[in-house]
Symmetry: C2
Subunit: 220 residues, 2 copies
Amino acid sequence: MKDLPEGCIRRLPLYLRQAQRYSDSGVDTVSSKELSEDIGVSPETIRKDLSQFGEFGTRGVGYNPEKLVKEIKSILNLHSTWDLALVGVGNIGSALLTNPEFEEGGFCITLAFDRDPEVVGKNIGGLEVLDVEEMTSRISEEGIDMGVIAVPPGNAQSIADSFVEGGVTGILNFAPVKVDVPSGIELIQVDITCELSRLAYYTGEKLRTKEIEDNYLGEE
Amino acid sequence: MKDLPEGCIRRLPLYLRQAQRYSDSGVDTVSSKELSEDIGVSPETIRKDLSQFGEFGTRGVGYNPEKLVKEIKSILNLHSTWDLALVGVGNIGSALLTNPEFEEGGFCITLAFDRDPEVVGKNIGGLEVLDVEEMTSRISEEGIDMGVIAVPPGNAQSIADSFVEGGVTGILNFAPVKVDVPSGIELIQVDITCELSRLAYYTGEKLRTKEIEDNYLGEE
């Protein structure tokens, strides 16, 4: 398959989730306009994204949600569930372990590791937390392809290294630090404080605009 | 100030965090090359981003981390701490309440709400959880400008509406659903399952490449 633009890959999961919701509620057909209203992406973009994969919908009729789910799952490599290994069962890690969204999305954390003796052996979200010393061997034994890093910044690189050693190909990193991985490994970072900083920039700008408008109205 | 490109606004928090780390460890000067190695953004992009704000560094010498921190904080509207209101103290909400990164980044959750009677009144991360019924009045009284939504998808829109009613200007939404806000309100969504789906796409592609290479080697 040809390489897809990053924007499209970011939107496909939104189409998938919404199509799944339509399908679950028994909706037969959905137009790009309806889909647009429910997910906040323009109908033109939706049509352009989906037209790349051939005949998804019927012109003038719309898309069949069930078919959409099946096709997008196949494009995103979500036809079967991905088993994940999580390292770091602190605040974010525990939240991930008990997140119902993951299962619906096709992801299942099957191994969880921590280095804190008080956490190792505990059962969180139905899973026993294992000692991080075992991570490379266990990941390799179970053939896990995807790992999640939820440890403090100072330990993130060594966990990434162990993931790579254990044979993981994709890593989601929640630690607020850059980690280096070989070129055959895919790494995506989720950085909540960066998102808040971005929000601060835009919010500050909007507050300034509001202030200027208020002052202007006050002068009338 | 002129509008900054989105990419630049996404990178500025990374520069800021790293500059703060240099500054904390007593580093006097840092080159764009060193900064590049530590955060994984090319030196050209760093120089281009920072040159927009005037004379940040000295040609051939580098940037002063302390000055960098001060200037980027000013650009991102982070010169003083932002007080945040959080709604939904479930798994993600609790993780946010106890996240040390927030404070370092200039954010402080000062109000937390939930609708579960078993959670209301509890002290989490040093903060008493309040009844969500009070949220609009409390946010408005305290003059909170930024809110965080960490409730299930079905309740996200009504929480967003209450935030707007209470006078909030910026919203960070962790609920995996689109919420509508008026044009004067800034909304940023953090969608962990979407990030995992994106990772699944890239990981699947890399696994396929690996398989093809392995088969090819096997034939030799």
